[in-house]
């Protein structure tokens, strides 16, 4: 059965994933919109940077974050300057890492959805004197709904499944950084296969259910394959 420590890890994981997903939507939506519309020559470079976590081993990201967020790293000096603690081994640190790591899973579906809307609906909205914000929320968001759904689900589930980065900057602290993938790893390494089975089973069931719902609910199939 699941022990208290396992339940704590599950709860923490969903907390990290929820907060990260909200942050990724807030940051990723304007970014995806800009990437879908711009003709700026920096576009390719920004696209490449956003997609980097897809190809980089999580250990690379984890290593850089550990060094950068440490007391003598750039981010570390910034956080000390504002007067907060350095980020490794903290909940905000894990959230920041998750946002960086899962960002392409949010930006790319949104970007594709925005691009496929085309000019016509936007021009129609403009002739009806809709302002840019109005156009975005009354025209773009409804049209891009499947993209948002895919982005939310992929962003959330990918954060739930994150392991390598947390392993490197987490420090395995209960209720703060010991997410469920860490806890499973701990169980397996300590030869506690029974506990590992329970937790791994939960995660498998969760992931399958979410994807099943996604494919059932959305009439237009989300382009999960397109990402990899």
């Amino acid at each position: 059965m699941l022990a208290n420590a396992d339940l704590d890890a599950l709860f923490l994981t969903f907390k990290v994933a929820s907060i990260s997903t909200v942050l990724m939507l807030l940051l990723g939506t304007p970014l995806a919109w800009w990437l879908a519309r711009t003709t700026c020559s920096w576009k390719s470079a920004i696209n490449a940077i956003v997609a980097l976590p897809l190809v980089l081993p999580p250990t690379v990201l984890g290593f850089y974050l550990l060094v950068l967020m440490g007391p003598s790293g750039l981010i570390g000096e910034l956080t000390t300057w504002i007067g907060v603690d350095t980020l490794p081994f903290t909940f905000p640190g894990i959230v920041l890492a998750s946002v960086l790591y899962s960002m392409p899973f949010v930006v790319q579906p949104l970007q594709t959805a925005f691009a496929s809307i085309g000019e016509q609906p936007l021009e129609a909205a403009a002739t009806l004197r809709a302002g840019p914000l109005d156009t975005f929320f009354s025209v773009v968001v409804p049209l891009a709904k499947p993209g948002f759904l895919t982005a939310i689900i992929l962003g959330f589930t990918h954060t739930v499944g994150e392991f390598g980065v947390v392993l490197m900057i987490g420090g395995n602290i209960p209720d703060k950084t010991r997410v469920v993938s860490m806890q499973i790893y701990n169980h397996v390494e300590a030869l506690e296969y029974n506990e590992a089975h329970w937790l791994a089973g939960c995660l498998l069931l969760f992931s399958f259910t979410v994807l099943l719902l996604l494919y059932t609910v959305s009439k237009t199939q989300p382009n999960v394959q397109q990402l990899k």
């Binding site: 967020m69 392993l167 420090g171 390494e189 300590a190």
Partner: protein, 254 residues
């Protein structure tokens, strides 16, 4: 004349290509992370002395035990404790009577800050630090020893909320060396150079504060037929190897 020259050439080539393999073997070795520096040195000397070569993998002892139980390919296992090799022996995965203690591990409380850690460990009581790094006691013997020390000093409950755990002692070292954790428990071998702690400050913890770290080596059944594996086990007991082990601050088993 012509044919004999060709056949001589063929024999030479065959010797070069295949002959080598018969007396110089490659050994796959799983090494507890704390022993990575000395073992790299020992492996170099071992190659020079015997012609065999050792391929080293570093990690936590606990992880290696679970890998070896599931058919991991390692032929020699240098654990950081005694329990791991014993478990493997009970599971019938080792060559009987090859198990021996190759070193007694030394625990040190260490920080990159100069003058931060005093030579009595008073900093643990008085220090205003935010993170105390140690290896995960579930996986790494040096983590168990660190917990021993804190319990003996009656500081375990107080300091537990500040714990950050490395998956093995090498990761624990990185947490401290990047200054993300102000101080922590690592293996003396990681911070010692020519018999001294050269970087930052450290407290070499007295033996009576923790259960001895009896680092045990064993020959796995996978390596039973590999001449190089048996040679490595022997070499670990040789004078040059023992000398290297000592320079990294380990005690030798009596």
């Amino acid at each position: 004349m012509q044919t004999s020259r060709i056949s001589r050439l063929a024999i030479t080539l065959a010797l070069l290509l295949f002959g080598q393999a018969s007396w110089s073997a490659t050994v796959l070795v799983a090494v507890a992370a704390n022993f990575s520096k000395p073992m790299t040195e020992i492996a170099g000397e071992f190659e020079k002395a015997t012609g065999h070569s050792a391929k080293l993998s570093f990690g936590s002892s606990g992880k290696f035990v679970s890998q070896l139980k599931s058919g991991g390919p390692f032929e020699v296992f240098l654990s950081a404790d005694e329990k791991g090799p014993e478990k493997l022996e009970q599971a019938g995965l080792t060559v009987p009577t090859t198990r021996f203690v190759y070193a007694l591990g030394k625990l040190v409380l260490w920080s990159t800050r100069i003058g931060y850690v005093d030579d009595q460990g008073k900093i643990l009581e008085t220090g205003n630090f935010k993170h105390l790094a140690l290896a995960n006691p579930k996986l790494a013997p040096y983590g168990i020893a660190a917990v021993d020390v804190l319990k003996k000093m009656k500081l375990f409950e107080k300091l537990q909320p500040l714990f950050v755990q490395g998956e093995n002692i090498a990761q624990t070292y990185h947490f401290i060396s990047t200054a993300n954790a102000e101080l922590g428990f690592v293996a003396l071998s990681q911070v010692i150079e020519k018999g001294k702690i050269t970087n930052g400050s450290g407290w070499i913890i007295p033996d009576n504060l923790y259960t001895p770290i009896r680092q045990t080596a064993v020959l796995m059944k996978k390596g039973a037929k590999n001449l190089g594996a048996a040679a490595l086990i022997d070499y670990l007991k040789s004078k040059p190897a023992l000398a290297i082990i000592k320079t990294y601050g380990y005690d030798l088993a009596k």
